[in-house]
Subunit: 311 residues, 4 copies
């Protein structure tokens, strides 16, 4: 079990007289493997946030802020009891067997244009034995060809740009790896959250974007940029790409200041600190069309979708 | 009430020894306004199709076909009792009031890169009074700048390409109009189906792609390419763009022959033939976070999502 | 006659042990209308620059610099006796009559992909009467659709990007205007140099990029970004786009510091200060396939090329 | 010595009442190594073509054709006495030593956006020993990653598209190889002409596009698509990319019919038939800043340019 304490503080200056709308994706997800023991949110303006949890357990919060400064503070203590298993036991699920609600994770999306990479991916990865090891091979391929450098990409940078320019940040590594996985029919999505435990030379804990690939019967974590410690990732949201799970989507003229992020891993009885592991790990519950696992929004929602059909 | 008889026949030649997987989106949607009185599906191979209906009432069918020829025949009789209202009564829903499950329809998607068009859309449409008339203005802007010509676009052609090249087919008009609507914060999606009633000089009824924009409390139909009769559109599916609702998504080496499509509108007591109307029309039920309308999967799913949050 | 005093100072830090190569395009061009009365170049390292003047009178200087700091100082006093004429008298030259060595200025280039804009340009400008006024209409079209903002584009931003994003700096306005002119068969090129005389609110004199369109029998100046005073432009180089006439093309790892640029217009007998004019103006000599005008490299080179053919 | 007989026939239907303008690049180049023993041109309309030979010996022909059919027939007998040398003897020329008029062949162009590929090329080829063998390595890299397939690209397909899509024709292979060479500072250009001698399974002789890289003191031939016999290439033109040396650039509405192309290699005393060779081969004369080689337009023009500077 991993226990993480998170504190984050986001500061904005709203410039429009009419105020501005924000969609935040900064709450720890509640899944069958990730438990929010405690959380606290405060806003410096007297606002009434609205919440929405989507089918993947991503919690979105909308606020309409008034002109002037806005500070959002969020603190949470989160337990993650990762599902772990032997990578060698994880098979790719053929298209014909894939739960049908997962098909969109094979399709191209705004920043992951898999349709343009079918030949390239087939040439590079088509001959490899399917399974967890093929996803790792794609991850390594991306890492070997991409330089991590801040301020080298923008909000419209896509997987194709990153493949050409060979430079980017975690968001860009993630988009490219997703596009390549989908191009060989491996369902793949973006996860967002925070990291903890990476080499301190790479800087303090920060927001992070990483990859989840569907293998066997659930989503497994991969770190496309290759510098993080996946056991230390706290998951906020998942989506087809950054269009779905930006930390903040802002409507209106707003200045954003640098966020403050603090993450600590607790030690104690039954707790371990994030460290590299060989096991495949997941913060998702079993993806099942039958009986939903208790308390996991993901599985419940999916089973509802699958049973809704009465053709 | 519109009553349409549809017959369609799709023919393929599967080339791979291992067969091929198909995801079809060719069933008439069942919504609060569109009723499938009768439908019949037959496949020339003894296959066991699997079905999935998503949150927007789109029905997907998956089959794993064996090598050799495959013919899919689908026939349906569909009643459409369009919701109609005065366009002048339809307001745009501000971001702060939009049902939260509709936010993804404001975000950029694979073929509708609204994020690149924020300035252009603000300049062209930002000063117009919001409402149905602004969506019509966007539709006309696209039509005036785009030439309809077959075989001018490919599966990877996007809204940006169409904006630059100013040529395309209904899919391309649709993508561009969607991208521009989203860029001024009007939720917008692609609908697919068949058309009926257009000028015969433009050819027989065919597959069609068109636009749905969310105004007031539901999705309204717009024909981006401007040559169809929206009352004659039978809806199959809706999605963020063509990546979500292709008529057929094929995995494997397959030759596709030209589809045969026949649509007839029935006349009789209580029936009218598709014709141009001034009214705003919709085949969707009220999108409501409260009591779901009976039998409308769309509304039911949305309300479930909104009430799932207990922050 | 305009007389301008230019001083510029460029500073670099060469990081590679092997040194770095620079191609500079920072010398005032010597044309039939622009005369370099005096110029002085100094380099802080004891280097032997090499020079090359191309067929358009652009002077390139190459140096191989050693590791460490490099300062280039250039000062010049330049007289510009603009060719001026009534815009109404300037016709577009039909393709069939265009000097054949100018054909490349109709073709697409790295940053000016006219081939993608044929329909758009025909739709917007195809119905206008040809001539100087049509080029002005293209210039205004670009200005109305593009916001001038620093740090919004990169070295790979092209005309298509600017058309979509509607934001950029003088380089981007210039590329877009060039692409649109070529798309309606008006030969067009980029000019680089310095500006003088613009509204001081827009900042001090600086490097500038602007447009030259070929009308009648020579190249005429247009300011795509619309804020400069063309009489105050000192011309360094011309080329098909920024790929040809970057102020500095650098091979090797180098830090570039902000350049210092000072331009003054002299007053005195026979001199006028840069000011807005209605006349069409040019710093190029007559482009003639016959007898070259004395002292104008451009015309001389062109005539040589045209007479070389003895088919 | 190679002796080739070429016959080609191009047929068009001019649709505009005003006629149409054509720029053809279909004449065998006359270089220090390629000699036109005999050539004959006929046009089915009574037109007066105009000719222009550029600095690289490319001959352009312009005609203004009347409405209706136009047939162009060209026949030539051409001797090619290839300059041949040991590949191991050919060095890359450092930027600091490169003849300055060749710098544009290092810069990005419309279809060869080398500026986007600097990191990729450095990673793939930066560590290889410079020389002819590195250019061969780039050629092989392109061939291994690109599938030759007709009708997979359009007039706006660029090197970046080909790198992503991994499919194309000789034009596309050529653009990608050029972009990669330039990205590691090897001057590189496109050559157009005809091929002869390839495996008959690949079809009859046809128009061809291939690569010339500047090594040592002249331009050497490489076949980017890897299926041709370079000794059998007859050179028409060279340029920075296809924007410069299209076989036909057409202004106006014109239907193009399939061209007829016949090439035969003659045998006889002193003649050899095209066959694979290990030697590096060139149809260009020495590129020299000093005394121009007799009869070679290329060298003469270059030396003029270099001596024109009197700073």
């Amino acid at each position: 079990m991993i226990r993480l304490d998170l504190e984050l503080q986001l500061e904005y200056e709203i410039l429009d007289d009419a105020g501005a709308d924000f969609i935040f994706n900064i709450h720890a997800a509640r899944t069958g493997q990730q438990f929010v023991r405690h959380e606290q949110l405060s806003l410096s303006q007297p606002l009434q946030p609205q919440f929405h949890t989507d089918a993947t357990a991503t919690r979105f919060m909308r606020v309409h802020a008034q002109p002037g400064p806005l500070t959002l503070s969020y603190a949470a203590t989160v337990d993650i009891d990762h599902h772990r298993c032997d990578p060698a036991s994880l098979r790719e699920v053929p298209v014909r067997e894939l739960p049908l609600d997962l098909m969109p994770y094979l399709y191209p999306s705004r920043y992951c244009q898999a349709d343009r990479l079918l030949r390239l991916a087939a040439r590079e990865f088509g001959g490899m034995p399917p399974g967890y090891s093929r996803v790792v091979a794609i991850q390594q391929w991306v890492q070997q060809r991409t330089t991590f450098a801040s301020n080298t990409s923008t909000a419209s940078t896509s997987a194709l740009d990153t493949l050409l320019d060979q430079v980017g940040v975690c968001r860009d590594f993630t988009h490219l790896m997703i596009a390549l996985c989908r191009a060989v029919n491996i369902p793949c999505r973006m996860a967002t959250g925070t990291d903890y435990g990476a080499d301190v030379a790479l800087g303090p804990p920060d927001f992070h974007a990483y990859v989840e690939a569907f293998l066997g019967d659930r989503w497994y974590i991969f770190d496309a940029s290759g510098t993080g410690i996946p056991l230390g990732f706290m998951r906020f949201g998942t989506g087809r790409d950054a269009a779905d799970v930006a930390f903040a989507t802002i409507f209106g003229r707003v200045n954003s200041l640098s966020p403050l992020i603090r993450v600590e891993a607790r030690s104690g009885p039954g707790l371990e600190l994030p460290h590299p592991v060989d096991a495949a790990i997941s913060t998702s519950a079993l993806h099942d069309a039958g009986v939903p696992a208790g308390g996991d929004v993901e599985a419940a929602r999916s089973s509802a979708e699958l049973s809704a059909e009465a053709y």
